[in-house]
Structures are given as structure tokens and as C-alpha cells.
């Protein structure tokens, strides 16, 4: 097959490209330029989009003897990922831009462009596994390295996208990939992993949002509606957040308080004690299925954060929306996050969390 290997300049995508080549594919390396004005040098382990990173990717491609190009998808990335990120926070939700990037950029803009230019598929260095069934259909599964597993951020892929995706690292642990990179002579073998959000290289998401949304002073209230503090922008808060509330008054018994609700319309942040944080029901919209949509009420594992725990649940899909009922309770479930549903190791699909609430308040809290 003719395959585009998306090469960030990191160790994972380098080995992924090498493995595709070993497997006999015709491979072309492509580095995505996603930043409007990329920095010359990497300044921290966080970002992955500097010109230095593009250079690292180029050197790996040279070593593999494959053609290498930089494709400029910065406009699409700004529109579909960065502006979406800002709009979601402004609307009081907590988005995951990596999911959005996979959905809209890597397996849409990049894949579509690759197919139009005569390629068959895109390969990335994500830790996840694609299992091909006897009938040719494909399933997305967790990686064998559960600590590195990135199937959550790929939960947005549809069957059509999955049909043109390769994740050659899913059967290997991260330390083994680093060792393989070293044995292949890649200079990036010891390069630190990238973390957090690539377009916020200093990691200060709140400061970054404030520069875009400005200060929007408002009130922090408790469950009874009493004002207990002030804030400089509701977008700075996420359901489940405990730190940085700056409350004037503490609870009578000194127990910590958490954000339980963010209301961007009234610009009010509600806080409460930990018992108010647990939910057992999630309503999701923007549902996407890696294979056939679930039929009826099905038992699933539900995961609401990239490195969060998977919890037992049932789910019922209705068109674009999904109802999820957790067997127990889960804290810190924020609207805007994605819930990814699993059947054992298989990714069933995902939805964006529209609402999370307590459906069975009489049950004893377990979460």
C-alpha cells in the first residue's frame, strides 16, 4: 500500500514509519505544520510543533530513505481544533483537543488529502491496535502497553477512517519502542515525550485562555446560591476542579470544595463538597462509532479522561446521542469531555459529554 506516515519528530511516529516500511509498504513521511508561527527551537518537552521537531522528523525520514514533506494544515488546525477549544471553554465545557485533532485533522484533513493524492492510508505513532476481522472489517483495540494506551483519543474514528488507519506500535511497550528507535539509530530515541496541549507549550492553559477571552469577573456560589467568592472568568474552571478557587469562606467543617457546575451564560461557578460531585449518568451527543452502533442497551466500559479509569456501565445509543448509566459513581465528569465506550479491549465509540448527573441518588455512593 501507499502510506503517509505522519511524523511529528518524536520517537513514536519515527518507529511507526520504520515499521510500515519494514512491512513492505511504500511510505512517504509527512510532518504536519499546525502552528501559525512555529518557534525555531523547542523550549520545553511539551510542544511538538517547532521547526526543530520538523527537522527531527526529516532526519528520521532521511535515515529511512523515504521522501519527506511538510504539509501545512495550520489553517484547518486553527479553525477545527484551536478555535473549537476556545469556544468550548467559553461555553463552560472542557474539551480534549487531541480527540478533535484526530477527528478533524489527522484522520480527516490529512487522510482526505493523502487519499486525493493517491495514498491508501495514514499511519501514526499512536499506541492502539487495529484488528482485522475475517470479513475485512476492522476493530480498534487498546494497546498492549496499558500505561501508554491512546485508544481513548482515537475513540472519535469512524469505521471508514479506521479502514485507512495504521497504528503499528500497539503491540509493543513504550520502553521497547525507545529501544527499537535506538537500535535503528534514530537521534530522537531519547527525546522526551510530549505532554499536554501542543499549542499551549508553556502548559498554562488558563493564562492562554485569558489572553483570548479576556477577564470576565463573576461570582462563585455554593449549592444554596450563596456567594462565597469571585472569579475572573468562568472559563477558567472545570467541573471537579479543587485548586485555585480562591474562596473567601470555608465550609463549616473545613471540608474541601470542588467546582460542581460552570454556567457561562450567568457567568457563575458553583462549588460544593465532594458528595455533590459524584454522577452515575452521562448524556452524550456527537456520537461516533468505530464499528456498528450498539444495538439496544449494552454493557460497556466507560472512560471519560485520556488516562482515566475505565468503569463498568451500560449504554444505549439513539441516533447522534448516547445515554450512559454507570454501575457506580464517578467524580469530575465535565461537559465537553469525551466518553469513550469499550467492549473489553475494543473501542465501541465515543460521544461528547453534554450533561452528567445523578440518576439514582438513593444508591450508596461508590465513586
Amino acid at each position: 500500500m501507499r502510506v503517509v506516515a505522519a511524523m511529528s519528530g518524536g520517537v513514536d511516529s519515527a518507529v511507526a514509519a520504520a515499521r510500515m516500511l519494514d512491512a513492505g509498504h511504500e511510505v512517504v513521511g509527512v510532518h504536519l505544520a499546525l502552528s501559525q508561527n512555529a518557534s525555531r527551537l523547542r523550549e520545553s518537552a511539551r510542544g511538538c510543533c517547532t521547526i526543530e521537531d520538523a527537522g527531527d522528523a526529516r532526519r528520521v525520514a532521511d535515515r529511512l530513505g523515504i521522501p519527506f514533506y511538510v504539509w501545512d494544515l495550520a489553517d484547518r488546525f486553527r479553525r477545527d481544533v484551536v478555535e473549537d477549544f476556545v469556544a468550548e471553554y467559553a461555553a463552560g465545557r472542557t474539551p480534549n483537543p487531541c480527540l478533535r485533532c484526530n477527528e478533524k485533522i489527522k484522520f480527516a484533513a490529512l487522510l482526505d488529502r493523502a487519499v486525493a493524492l493517491g495514498f491508501d492510508a495514514v499511519a501514526t505513532g499512536h499506541y492502539a491496535q487495529v484488528v482485522e476481522n475475517a470479513d475485512g472489517t476492522r476493530e480498534l483495540h487498546r494497546a498492549v502497553d496499558t500505561a501508554k494506551d491512546q485508544s481513548y483519543v482515537l475513540g472519535v474514528l469512524t469505521a471508514d477512517q479506521l479502514a485507512r488507519a495504521f497504528f503499528p506500535l500497539g503491540d509493543t511497550t513504550k520502553p521497547a519502542i525507545r529501544a527499537e528507535a535506538a537500535s535503528r539509530g534514530f537521534a530522537v530515541a531519547k527525546k522526551p515525550d510530549s505532554h499536554d496541549i501542543c499549542f499551549i507549550p508553556d502548559g498554562d492553559t488558563q493564562g492562554w485562555l485569558e489572553r483570548r477571552l479576556g477577564q470576565q469577573p463573576g461570582e462563585i456560589v455554593d449549592a444554596g446560591g450563596e456567594v462565597v467568592g469571585r472569579h475572573t472568568g468562568a472559563y477558567r474552571f472545570t467541573v471537579g476542579q479543587r485548586r485555585g478557587l480562591g474562596l473567601d469562606r470555608s465550609t463549616l467543617d473545613g471540608s474541601p470544595r470542588f467546582v460542581t457546575q460552570v454556567d457561562p451564560v450567568r457567568n457563575v461557578v458553583t462549588v460544593g463538597t465532594v458528595d455533590l460531585l459524584g454522577v452515575d449518568a452521562i448524556e452524550g451527543d456527537h456520537a461516533l462509532w468505530c464499528g456498528p452502533p450498539p444495538d439496544g442497551v449494552v454493557e460497556v466500559g466507560a472512560q471519560v479522561r485520556a488516562h482515566g479509569e475505565e468503569v463498568p456501565a451500560t449504554a444505549w445509543a439513539d441516533g447522534d446521542t448516547v445515554q450512559v448509566r454507570l454501575d457506580g459513581r464517578l467524580r469530575g465528569v465535565a461537559p465537553g469531555q469525551s466518553v469513550v465506550l469499550y467492549d473489553r479491549t475494543r473501542v465501541v465509540g465515543s460521544a461528547t459529554i453534554a450533561r452528567a448527573f445523578l440518576d439514582r441518588p438513593a444508591d450508596r455512593a461508590t465513586g
Partner: protein, 395 residues
């Protein structure tokens, strides 16, 4: 990979066999041209013979040839060096008059002086054909002649290949006694360039665009032109450029330049014919394809003989370049390139080409180009255009 079809001579053109053997011979010898012993004198003699040969090819006096590491250094020296010297002589001279289509070596130097040294840049836009009008330069000067340090307008544009009316621009500047610099990197060796006849004060040339090695160029500076050094050291070149003299580079440059000028008339006719066939062939592939800038068939005066700059509607240059590269054809999008990311070039923007509407392709022919190259390009073009349009439609 199929046999390489090289259509990127404006980026760099192959070393000629004569230049290659000259460089290789000098690299086998020891001797710093500034040393006083026999080996040093021999190396110095190579540099000076090369300077004389180059001066002849340039229509300049040998003392006017200042060897540099290439075009970028020469452009920096001309723009910043003359700005500094002229302002030191008269502090009112803070203005630079620069065409909006200059190479980055001039553009960024002017912007740097504006950002850090109190310079004011007056940009002169081209017309839709990519030509800088001498009257536009005159207007820019006339608004306040006493404040002008230097005028910089290139001899031929590196993207569109459009040749600029340098002589007329020198004439209007001369009315005010203002020095003019011209970056002739793309022009020298390809169209007639005579420094003495031009009336220029400064002119930039480089070796690797005409068959010499990469890493050597020259600033041709009129005797008596005001110029301050930018790098400091031994002052080997007329006290305005320091650094060990590059005898091998200088000789390679001189050999290639001498040959290019000697064969210019016939070679330019040959390339113009090839170029015109390429342009007409591309237009036959798709009638919506247009040539950027001044072009009329068999016209080697208004655009460089080897330059075909095409705009292909409804696709981007990046995809065209990829598909042609995959077919073994090396060319350029002609756009500014930063870490491989292409943005619409400032040249096209200045000419009023709308951003994002069409893919730009710069195809440049040179001394090794043949009919076979043009045929291979025209054979690959329909598939590349179709593929790039598919990619554009999904972007």
C-alpha cells in the same frame, strides 16, 4: 525513482564541468591568499586573476569586485552597509526605498534596520506584470529626497523572472544623487548585465546560479560608493569585507561567469525557446493555467529566458510539487518557505494575486536543460494537476 528532471535552476544550477575542475584543482593546493610566501602569493594570484575575469564578465573594474560568501551576504552588505555609511555622513538619511518584490536577503535586512536602527522603509509595489515602475521609485524619492539613504531594486525577480528597468531607476535616483543597489543574482549570466553601463552603485551577484559553486558571490561596488563594513576582521576585501579569501570559490565563479557571458546570446535564445514551449504546453494541458508576470513569446528581455512561473487555479502549489516530485520532476512552488511550510509569496501578493486561489509553480531551465525535460514535465503535468485539484477539493 525515475530519472531526475531538474527544473529548479533558479534555486541552484549544476556546476559546469569547467568550474568543477577549476574548484577541484584549487582545493588541492595550500596557501592563504593573504600570506606573504610563495604559496600565499600563488593563491593570491588566483584570487586576483579571478577578480579580473569576473570584472570583465560584469563590465566592472576589478577593484569594484568585493568577494563575499554569496548573494545574501552581498545584499546585507549593500543595504545595511550603505545605509550606515550614508546616515553617518548625514543623519537625515534614514529612509530606504525598497521594492516589495525583493529577495528575503534585502527584504529582511530592510525590516531589521527599521526594527532596530531607526530606518524608515518606503516599499515600492510592482504593477500587475511584476514590474517596478521608475516613476513609482521617483515618487517615493521625491516625497523627501534628503531623507533617502539608498534605493534597492532587483535586476530580475527570483520567482517570476521578471526583469526590472534598472537603468531607468538609476536615472531617476541620479536626479537626486541617491545611490542604487540591485540584486542581480538571477540576472547575471542569463541576460546582459553590465555594471558600468547600468550606472548602479552596488550590485549583488553569486556563483551558483550560473554554474559556479555554492558559497561564493560578490558585491560589485562602484569606486567611491559609501559603504560601512558589517563584519570586522582582517578587512581583506577593500576593508569592507573580512574573512580568509576563498581562492577555489573565486576561480570557480570566474570560470563559470566567463563561460555564461560568452555563450549568453545563443544560450538565452535556446532557453527562451524551450521555456516558451513549456509555457504553451502547460496552457494546452489546461487553458486556465496562466503565466505570472510579463511574458510574450520569444521575449527574453522582460523575463529571464529560463523562467516559467505558472499559476494553476483550484489547487495548491504544495500538492503540485509533491505529485511532480513523485514523478521525478524537481521544481519549486516559488513561494517563501519556512521549515517546508509554504505561504503565498510576498511577490505574488505584491502583484495582486489573490491568496489561496491558485497553486504557483516555478519551473526554471538552465544550461543542462533539454527538450526531454520539457517533454517529461508536460507528460506529468495533467496527472499532477488532476491530483492536486482532488486534494484541493477536500481541503
Amino acid at each position: 525513482m525515475p530519472d531526475l528532471v531538474y527544473l529548479d535552476h533558479a534555486a541552484t544550477t549544476p556546476l559546469t564541468p569547467a568550474a568543477r575542475s577549476a574548484v577541484s584543482e584549487e582545493l588541492g593546493r595550500v596557501g592563504n591568499p593573504s600570506s606573504l610566501h610563495g604559496r600565499g602569493r600563488a593563491a593570491r594570484s588566483v584570487v586576483e586573476e579571478s577578480r579580473e575575469a569576473l570584472a570583465t564578465a560584469l563590465g566592472a573594474h576589478p577593484s569594484e569586485v568585493v568577494f563575499t560568501s554569496g548573494g545574501t551576504e552581498a545584499d546585507n552588505l549593500a543595504v545595511e552597509g550603505s545605509f550606515r555609511a550614508r546616515r553617518a555622513a548625514d543623519p537625515r538619511r534614514v529612509r530606504l526605498i525598497v521594492s516589495a518584490i525583493e529577495h528575503h536577503a534585502v527584504l529582511e535586512t530592510a525590516e531589521h534596520l527599521e526594527a532596530h536602527d531607526g530606518a524608515e522603509v518606503t516599499w515600492v509595489s510592482p504593477d500587475a506584470d511584476g514590474v517596478i515602475s521608475p516613476y513609482a521609485v521617483r515618487s517615493a524619492i521625491a516625497s523627501d529626497p534628503a531623507s533617502v539613504g539608498v534605493v534597492s531594486v532587483m535586476w530580475a525577480n527570483n520567482e517570476t523572472g521578471v526583469v526590472q528597468p534598472v537603468r531607468a531607476i538609476v536615472d531617476v535616483a541620479a536626479e537626486f544623487g541617491i545611490p542604487v543597489h540591485s540584486d542581480a543574482v538571477q540576472a547575471f549570466g542569463h541576460v546582459p548585465v553590465d555594471f558600468g553601463v547600468s550606472g548602479l552603485d552596488f550590485m549583488t551577484v553569486t556563483a551558483h546560479k550560473l554554474g559556479g559553486p555554492i558559497g561564493v558571490g560578490a558585491l560589485v561596488a562602484r569606486r567611491g560608493a559609501e559603504l560601512a563594513p558589517l563584519s570586522h576582521g582582517g578587512g581583506q576585501e577593500r576593508d569592507v569585507r573580512s574573512g580568509t579569501l576563498n581562492a577555489a570559490g573565486a576561480r570557480g565563479f570566474a570560470v563559470a561567469a566567463t563561460d555564461a557571458v560568452a555563450t549568453l546570446t545563443e544560450e538565452s535564445a535556446r532557453l527562451t525557446a524551450l521555456r516558451d514551449r513549456l509555457i504553451r504546453g502547460a496552457m494546452a494541458v489546461d487553458p486556465t493555467i496562466t503565466v505570472t508576470g510579463a511574458w510574450e513569446g520569444a521575449d527574453g528581455i522582460h523575463r529571464l529566458p529560463g523562467n516559467a512561473h505558472l499559476l494553476v487555479p483550484d489547487c495548491d502549489g504544495e500538492a503540485l510539487l509533491y505529485l511532480l516530485d513523485a514523478a521525478g520532476i524537481a521544481c519549486s512552488t516559488g513561494a517563501a518557505c519556512r521549515a517546508g511550510v509554504t505561504r503565498q509569496s510576498h511577490v505574488l501578493t505584491a502583484m495582486g494575486v489573490p491568496d489561496g486561489a491558485a497553486g504557483a509553480l516555478r519551473l526554471t531551465l538552465g544550461h543542462t536543460s533539454t527538450d526531454t525535460d520539457v517533454d517529461a514535465f508536460l507528460a506529468a503535468l495533467p496527472g499532477a494537476v488532476a491530483g492536486a485539484r482532488r486534494a484541493f477539493a477536500v481541503t
